[in-house]
């Protein structure tokens, strides 16, 4: 300790002054990134701020400041400060926790702020037993030592709460470690393994599948190691036209076969706030893309033969398995979303049927050749954000530790109680004394209740 203390570098990183300075600098510099929009194209800054200022932004990396070398360095120094500062102080806390409190000089008790002297009607030996039993019944386990002129009892609670603040410090480090582990930049530039942690996205048209995604950072393909299929996508609206649900029904395929997911089903309803995690990779509903093509499902009601096809608007097709042809001859569109579709349907025996159906709704068509069910739905692609973040559990554990640590540090304290029993001129006297390292007012109340109830018991 003493040799460390002399080391000026150690002393610098151990100081609270540095911590205060760093907290201030982190707070102050963070403001830049909220005022200057981050990660815009370079031309945008030139347009908005002029050539010179835009250049300055670039030099100082203010356009992506939270990933800039100087901001990350600040966070690095902050971590170092947390570590050194805690290492510097923890030995002292351990000493306080392990301290032999019975070595206290009994004269000191008389000077403690929270204390009470009582006269007891019992001889010392019995009194010691009574006090010990009483304290024990109240959850204060005592230790005992003979002192000059009497016997000292000591009990303490919550000694470990002195570590509360260090739990908070450690929690910040755990969160930062989690952030590094889950960082795509770290995976790419340090581990040289982009698959370790990444963020990316992919558009999958309905009825199609993919086994790769595109990385946000590099724009390159990342192989998933399995296949994801979008079976279906739809948007539901509220009566006032606001979107209510973006829903993708997705399946995961291994070796071409759908695998059971979390709930046992092979289809997951992917919505905002309801992502799908498979093999550590999480898929989020993030966007969509309407097409001018249509997804069609034709079923022969008698034989249940089924045919899936994609056709363009204004075209017609001939079924490959059934003796019918159909086509889309008109559509009603609101924005980019098709509302109703006009269908032409023929079995080449009588006049073709021509009718309107709502997008995605089943139509039953009876013809001399049989009964058919046709569903025509505008084709969408679902836009998924795809993330692999192996550090997220560190972050969550760190968050939990932080809340726990804050609670311990702020609302719990190390409380001590001394009881000194001695005999003076045939009279047994008892000095109760106590201390708490925080919330002294609260402890005073606990202490006086403890003493009062003891008095009542003795009387």
């Amino acid at each position: 300790m003493s040799s460390r203390k002399k080391n000026p570098v150690w002393a610098f990183f151990a100081s609270v002054r540095l911590a205060l300075f760093l907290l201030f600098i982190l707070a102050a510099t963070s403001i830049f990134g909220t005022v200057i929009q981050q990660n815009q194209p370079a031309a945008q800054y030139v347009k908005e701020y002029g050539e010179k200022t835009a250049h300055l932004f670039q030099v100082l990396e203010l356009t992506d400041m939270y990933n800039s070398w100087w901001f990350l360095s600040l966070l690095g120094i902050f971590s170092l400060n947390l570590i050194v500062c805690s290492l510097e102080r923890i030995p002292n806390v351990i000493r306080l926790v392990k301290k032999d409190n019975l070595t206290i000089k009994t004269e000191q008790l008389a000077r403690m702020k929270i204390r009470k002297t009582l006269a007891l009607p019992l001889p010392p030996e019995q009194s010691i037993q009574r006090v010990t039993d009483y304290l024990h019944s109240r959850g204060w386990k005592t230790t005992k030592r003979e002192k000059e002129g009497g016997v000292l009892l000591f009990a303490q609670r919550g000694a470990w709460t002195r570590f509360g603040v260090y739990i908070v410090h450690l929690s910040i480090l755990v969160i930062l470690v989690g952030a590094v582990i889950g960082s795509p930049t770290f995976a790419r530039k340090v581990l040289h393994n982009e698959k370790f942690a990444f963020k990316g996205s992919i558009m999958i048209p309905e009825s199609r599948e993919t086994s790769f995604i595109y990385s946000f950072a590099s724009g390159e393909k990342i192989d998933l190691g399995f296949t994801v299929r979008c079976n279906y996508f739809t948007i539901e609206y509220y009566a006032n036209g606001m979107p209510k649900t973006y829903l993708s029904k997705v399946s995961v395929l291994e070796n071409g076969k759908p695998v059971p997911l979390k709930d046992g089903s092979t289809v997951h309803d992917l919505k905002v706030n309801k992502p799908l995690t498979y093999r550590g990779i999480t898929f989020y509903q993030s966007s969509y893309q309407p097409y001018s093509d249509f997804l069609t499902v034709l079923v022969d009601k008698k034989t249940n033969q089924k045919e899936n096809r994609i056709i363009a608007g204004g075209t017609q097709i001939k079924s490959k398995i059934l003796p019918v042809s159909f086509g889309i001859i008109n559509q009603e569109v609101r924005g980019e979303a098709v509302q109703r579709i006009k269908i032409w349907f023929s079995d080449n025996q009588v006049d073709p049927a021509i009718f309107w159906v709502h997008n995605g709704q089943k139509a039953i068509i009876k013809r001399p050749s049989g009964e058919y069910e046709l569903t025509v739905k505008q084709l969408y692609a679902t836009g998924l954000q795809v993330t692999k973040d192996p550090g997220v559990w560190f972050v969550y554990v760190g968050c939990g530790m932080m809340l726990l640590g804050l609670f311990v540090a702020f609302f719990m304290s190390h409380r001590k109680i001394y009881a000194f029993i001695r005999e003076e001129a045939g009279q047994t006297t008892l000095i109760f004394a106590g201390s708490a390292h925080k919330n002294k007012v609260g402890f005073e109340k606990v202490f006086s209740r403890l003493v009062d109830e003891f008095q009542q018991q003795m009387a």
Binding site: V16, T34, K199, M242, V392, Y396, M402
Partner: protein, 283 residues
Amino acid sequence: MNSSQLFGITTLCYLLSAVFYVALLVFKKKKAGTIGLGFAIIGVLVQTAAIGLRWLESYQMGIGHAPLTNMYESLVFFAWCTTLFYIFMEFKFKARVVGAFVMPFAVAAMAYASFAKRINQQISPLVPALQSNWLLAHVITCFIGYGAFAVAGGLGLMYLLKKSGIKKGKKQDSFTGSLPELKVIDDLTHKTIIFGFMWLSAGIITGAVWANEAWGTYWSWDPKETWSIITWFIYASTLHARFTRGWSGSRIAWLAIIGFVSVFFTYFGVNFLLAGLHSYGAS
């Protein structure tokens, strides 16, 4: 009776409460303080009913969700948290006159929510991003923190007023004389900041977990997130300055005020001045 009428009554109660607390401060009539507290309690009860009713109304409209989803509802909730926290504090610490510095915040929030043109009072359905159980946890934790910090800011202001009153050597019967002892205000400010800090931390954490559920990133340095961490840094420094360097008095009072300005910006400024993901709260 619908919820907006009840919110109107709430606003009136808070206004009267603030007026009587200020009267207590100026005229030092004990009765004024009692009436002020009475109005605050009635106001909070009516508002609790109003929030419950608005919740119910949303279900009757078929778009049921907790009334915590836009600027109007958040302002109302902020006023509720602040007043509730203050009443709790008054009962626990018996520093009645503090109400003169806190209730105006509640009045301002309610009045702004009710009368500002840009605030939309309609109950609207939840967009997909907000359809999550984390909504309640996140908003409630944040706003308990905000409420506490509003009270701490009021206490800081009170401390500085009292101190300048003493410096000028004003007589005890001047209005700053009726304020609690400096030591008491200082202690209350500290305790309130600790309480607020705990909840702000919980608010940031619930927000991070939710963001990870909805967007796949627990932290994206969106302006709202960044300002919340700036606020967290400010209060963290305040606590360290006090615990380890023994700061107290005016310095802590100033930090309580600066902290609240930052809270205010996190809550308000970000929505109106900066672009970002948290756009739900803007109208």
